[in-house]
Amino acid sequence: MTALVYRLAGVAVLCVALAMLSDAFLTVPNLLNVLRQTALLFLIASGLTLVVLAGGLDLSIGANVGLSACLVATAVQATGSVWAGVAVGCAAGTAVGLVNGAIVAGLKLKPIIATYGIMWVLNGVTYWYMQGETIYGFPESFRAIGSGYWLGVPVPVYLMVTVLAAGLVFARMTTWGHQVYALGANPQAALLSGVPVNARTFLVYSLSGAMGGVSGVVYLARLNSAEAGIGDALLLPAIAAVLVGGTSLFGGLGSLIGTLIGAAILTLVLNGMNLLVISSNWQPLVTGAIVLLAAAVDTLTRRRADARA
């Protein structure tokens, strides 16, 4: 809990610093924009958080969002129906998740290498599918999912709150959720105490895939344009949000609230760079440095905990 307080303090410090550095920060449009970007990043990283909590990893999440968004784009263009788009996105993302779950939980491949291989399969399929085309201009009703407002609040924020609430109930109040934590903390002990390890592993990868599909829909509705590279730069920020949020790479420790705060911190940093007119070319560098910093903190914390135990 104290760790979360530190991270919230981090958010506050960032906000104060940005408010002092740029007059544009404390404006309603910018704050709503930050909120919207935070919600998007949280959606992408939410399923990934469960996978990492269970001691696994999903490196295919960015490519999944990319492929899903491109499939949704053609579905919406072809049918003009919002619901067709949503259905295609959810189905595509979930299918990817099921494949990941099957090869990690069923065939026992190492998650890093398996989801890394899937990442490149998805990447290749996306570039092939799009044939270098850009699809843009979607109906207003579809774009509302990503760029609209309801009662003055960006629509993705409602999705974020819904996913967060469902995720918290799942993680804190259901047996399955507890089993996911147990699995990540100590797979051997979990197996011995009767946790259906394979089924829960399969579940978290499927959920991560499904969230990739949902994020694809929202992301596309926000950008209003789809091209093959749409998901290329999403993996690093997603991992950064999870790690900055305090979910341990070693499994069993962390929370979705942490990931929300992590997403907020990352979004504030990138937003700040925008406001200060720093070229977006620097973004991978900054995100990479944040990933390293968060991973170092995670490792040190665990070492200290180990030393105390």
Binding site: G117, N123, Y127, G288, L292
Partner: protein
């Protein structure tokens, strides 16, 4: 005990040793022009850069590690090299700087993995972002052209009848082979993944050796930036992204796993990836599907290996 010899029994040979001949026969039968001498030389030239990445990647994976930063680092090395050439510096000096840049990233990777105790995939994912960001920032996101004629001429030239990239590939393989199988350092690399304890008890400075594996990888990737820049006659900040996947694919296909490596297998893996891409290319399969093809190849071979181990 792990095999310390480069000669393997038929039973322990990885699946790629059987897949590669199948690929060769299949493409030779189906694709006109595949089995011609110019095309075979072409495959060799195209595979040289991949080999330079896959050789040190073998060491990294043997040490229970992974290096996701290689593709970004070769891009960084390539723009450093190209920018220095554009500024009128000598090829020697530009090459040295590229190797130095690669070495710096390798050292950072190694230090964070070994002394930081941070999982290798996340360390190298972070440095991947940093290398990519640096390369984009110093070039403002565009290609570096106008590197003069010295490097393209070197790349296109032949030495003792061998095209320059193939010559470099052969030399690199021989050096890594000797290093792995005929030196004490090679024995340490074998032991570090599976037998770290006994290495420590034997008084070896295990941490230093472990860091050196990543540092060596960084330096070799930096050096490969020479071929990379020569091939494109330009420096490009992000053209290398994804090369790390081909390298990991080649190593994994070649039967190297944590704590146990096989360098001839890496050579076979590089050949398999090179042949697959070349054959698909001649069949006019778009490069995007070639990427997916390599991904599927890796998953399939891993699944076969997992099933073989289970039975």
């Amino acid at each position: 005990m792990m095999p310390r010899s480069w000669v393997q029994s038929a039973a322990s040979v990885p699946g790629v040793a059987y897949v590669l001949p199948l690929l060769l026969i299949g493409f030779a039968a189906a694709v006109p022009g595949f089995a011609s001498a110019p095309n075979v030389i072409n495959i060799g030239i195209q595979s040289a850069i991949l080999l330079l990445l896959a050789l040190p990647m073998t060491f990294v994976i043997m040490s229970e590690g992974l290096d996701l930063s290689m593709g970004a680092v070769i891009g960084f090395a390539s723009v450093v090299l190209a920018l220095l050439l554009v500024d009128g510096h000598s090829l020697t000096w530009a090459f040295t700087a590229a190797v130095g840049g690669g070495l710096a990233f390798g050292l950072v990777n190694g230090l964070l993995v070994v002394y930081g105790g941070i999982p290798p995939f996340v360390v190298t994912l972070g440095t991947m972002g940093i290398a990519q960001g640096l390369a984009l920032a110093i070039t403002d996101g565009s290609s570096v052209v106008g590197i003069g004629s010295a490097l393209p001429r070197l790349y296109a030239g032949t030495w003792a009848g061998l095209p320059f990239p193939i010559l470099i590939g052969v030399v690199a393989y021989v050096v890594f082979h000797v290093l792995m199988y005929h030196t004490r350092y090679g024995a340490y690399v074998f032991a570090i993944g599976g037998n770290r304890e006994s290495l420590m008890l034997a008084g070896v400075r295990v941490n230093a050796v472990h860091v050196s594996i990543y540092a060596l990888a960084g330096a070799v990737v930096g050096a490969a930036g020479l071929l990379f820049t020569g091939r494109m006659s330009a420096g490009h900040p992000v053209a290398g992204i994804g090369l790390e996947f081909d390298a990991i694919a080649a190593v994994v296909l070649g039967g190297t796993e944590r704590g146990n490596g096989w360098l001839p297998g890496t050579l076979l893996g590089v050949a398999a990836v090179g042949v697959l891409k070349n054959g698909l290319n001649l069949m006019a399969v778009p490069s995007s599907l070639q990427v997916a093809g390599v991904g599927i190849l890796v998953i399939v071979v891993l699944v076969i290996d997992a099933l073989r181990r289970r039975s």
